[in-house]
Amino acid sequence: MPANAVEVKSLSKRFGAFTAVDAVSFSVEKGEIFGFLGANGAGKSTTIRMLCALLDPTSGTASVGGFDIRREPEKVKRSIGYMSQRFSLYDDLTVAENIRFFGGAYGLNRGTVASRLPWVLEMAGLRGREGSLARTLSVGWKQRLALGCAVLHEPGIVFLDEPTGGVDPASRRRFWELINGLSEQGMTIFVTTHYLDEAEYCNDIRLIHAGRIVAGGSPTELKTAAIRHPILEVACDRPVEALEILQKEPWVVDTSIFGLSLHVGVGEEAEGRRLLADRLGRAGIAVRRVDRIMPSLEDVFIHEIETNAAPGPAAAGEAKP
């Protein structure tokens, strides 16, 4: 068996003239939590679906669990778990019926299903609700149940496509605890998200933007290595106007807006503070406070996108053809 659970070499997918995934390469070590981060439409799901042998790549190669996704798609499918973005459950089946059906579909015998059932109920926090129809569960429960169903057959690798979309922070935290638990049992986790804060839970991260990988590494590596210039957090009046003014300045590396304050990347801290006060002062914008901060992953992401990839105003928002 190879050391890596997933090995991807310049994998591409085109839909007609549009390139959804553009020659991405990376590898995922066994047992780690691998985060695939990107905005809506970045190409996360497309990549996952190729790795799960649900979608044929246009070019490039990849192996999952040691099997080639083109030559041995059936073996790839047998060795993975997959939770799609729509956390696919049968709404008209009860919790227990969903678990039993997927158990049967994965070819588990009755005994195995019976022994896994309490485990899934326990982990999803659904003990006592075995008889509820899946349609009556709230999104957070559904996600946990879908995760349980996806790992019923104890696959070596599980692909989770935006498993935490649309739920409250408490549910997200709970979900990540489950993921951590699975990882501790030795399962390799490949997870996509567009919540940048969730990346902190991952051992290894790739940032994907418009189909291309723009940065990668562990969260700490990303923060320290990717950004070699100071970031200033600026609290000022009329932040939107200030942002527009600063974006045009040659000494500003990148800018973004965080709530009521701005994050401004500058070449050098003292010089940056001086130029900033000067420029905003001329525009009549009162600056209340300027602090040097540790970059967040969001700063890293914005920085990478602005410097690496996109010509034009590509922020962390929509990136569509």
Partner: protein, 391 residues
């Protein structure tokens, strides 16, 4: 591609039955709609055309003409509503729907009859309801024919001669159902219609629903092969639709007195083959569509229209233009209907219906084989585009 496995099929069948049982809409669609359609069509066609209000313009006023009028008013199909002085009085009555049919007996009707000159009796029908009009036309033709035969016999007896022309020529065409039993005609067509539409739509949408909800991807990751899935989906829908066909048969026996004259096993064989074809068609549609709306529309169009229009259910095939007739050769419902009518109404055996059975078997094989091939291949289809709305 993997072969079918018993465990896999059983999982899918069980799951499918559970989903159908809990989804009251699909249950109603598959079981109650057919019964409802039968009641609606059945009663509309058997009751509405009785007691048609009839007006008579008797230009002759002879004993012979009164006798002819009696032929009508003594049946339960016609009620004599008015005796009018002239034909112009008919129009306003019919426009107000006071009458549904009018009989115009020409002057010198009796005289012509006696002279053997075949007088022409004019019949006017309210065609605004084509069904009623056509059925009334059938009744009138039958009554006139009976009357003609009586006159012929009388004339022959009187003259001691043979070979004369029919005494009364009626200008009414019999469109269908000359036996005056609309239910006989209707029930086989309705069974075909019900089986085809319900099976095609249910199978197509049950698979496309899985694509839409993403469960199809989950199944593709699992160890179920496409044969497991296809067979597992087929069994519940085939059983339910056959059950609902039997319900229709039972209801038509109880309510309309249409019993099965022919062999039941042969009938069952025809139904099973027809259902398999419809299943295949539904599966095929699901393999080329991605949303439930499109699948529903396509299933509806390809099942309902041909079954309704091109099978001979409503319009006899022999009255269609040649091009359309040629198309009907590719409509399975046409063969099914022919076989069904022959078996149910005429006690036809395999010797009479084997060509239809053969065609149905061929269609079933083609449809199922084609969709299995497509589903096996279609496993690498790209995912549908979705709208992305996220805060």
């Amino acid at each position: 591609m993997k072969g079918p496995t018993l465990g896999g099929i059983r999982s899918v069948v069980k799951k499918e039955f559970r989903e159908i049982r809990r989804d009251s809409r699909s249950l109603g669609f598959m079981i109650f709609l057919p019964a409802f359609l039968l009641l609606m069509f059945g009663f509309a066609l058997t009751l509405d055309v009785k007691h048609i209000a009839l007006a008579v313009v008797d230009g002759d006023g002879s004993q012979a003409s009164r006798e002819l009028v009696d032929q009508f008013s003594t049946t339960e199909y016609f009620d004599l509503k008015a005796v009018l002085p002239m034909t112009t009085a008919i129009d306003p009555l019919m426009a107000r729907e006071d009458i549904g049919a009018a009989l115009v007996i020409p002057p010198r009707f009796a005289e012509d009859l006696l002279a053997g000159r075949s007088p022409s009796v004019q019949v006017l029908l309210d065609g605004s309801n084509a069904m009623t009009g056509a059925t009334a036309g059938g009744y009138i033709a039958a009554i006139l024919q009976t009357y003609s035969q009586k006159i012929t016999l009388e004339t022959l007896a009187r003259r001691g001669l043979g070979g004369l022309a029919a005494p009364v020529a009626a200008e009414v065409r019999v469109w269908y159902n000359p036996e005056l039993r609309s239910s006989n005609f209707l029930i086989p067509g309705l069974i075909a219609f019900i089986l085809m539409v319900i099976v095609t739509i249910s199978t197509a949408s049950s698979i496309v629903r899985e694509k839409e909800r993403g469960t199809m991807d989950q199944l593709r990751i699992s160890s179920l092969g496409s044969p497991d899935l296809i067979i597992g989906k087929m069994i519940p829908y085939a059983l339910i639709s056959l059950g609902s066909a039997h319900l229709v048969l039972l209801l038509s026996q109880v309510l309309f007195g249409v019993g099965i004259k022919g062999s039941y096993p042969l009938l069952l064989l025809a139904m099973v083959l027809f259902v398999c074809g419809a299943l295949g068609q539904g599966l095929f549609i699901s393999s080329i569509t991605r949303t439930q709306q499109v699948a529903f529309l396509l299933a509806l169009l390809t099942s309902m229209l041909p079954t309704f229009i091109l099978s001979g259910f409503i319009f006899p095939v022999r009255n269609m233009p040649a091009v359309v007739q040629a198309i009907t050769y590719f409509v399975p419902a046409r063969y099914f209907l022919a076989a069904l009518r022959a078996i149910v109404l005429k006690d036809a055996g395999l010797a009479a219906v084997w060509p239809q059975i053969l065609f149905l078997a061929a269609f079933a094989l083609l449809a199922l084989g084609g969709s299995a091939a497509r589903m096996g291949r279609g496993e690498k289809e790209p995912r549908p585009r979705r709208g992305r709305a996220r805060a």
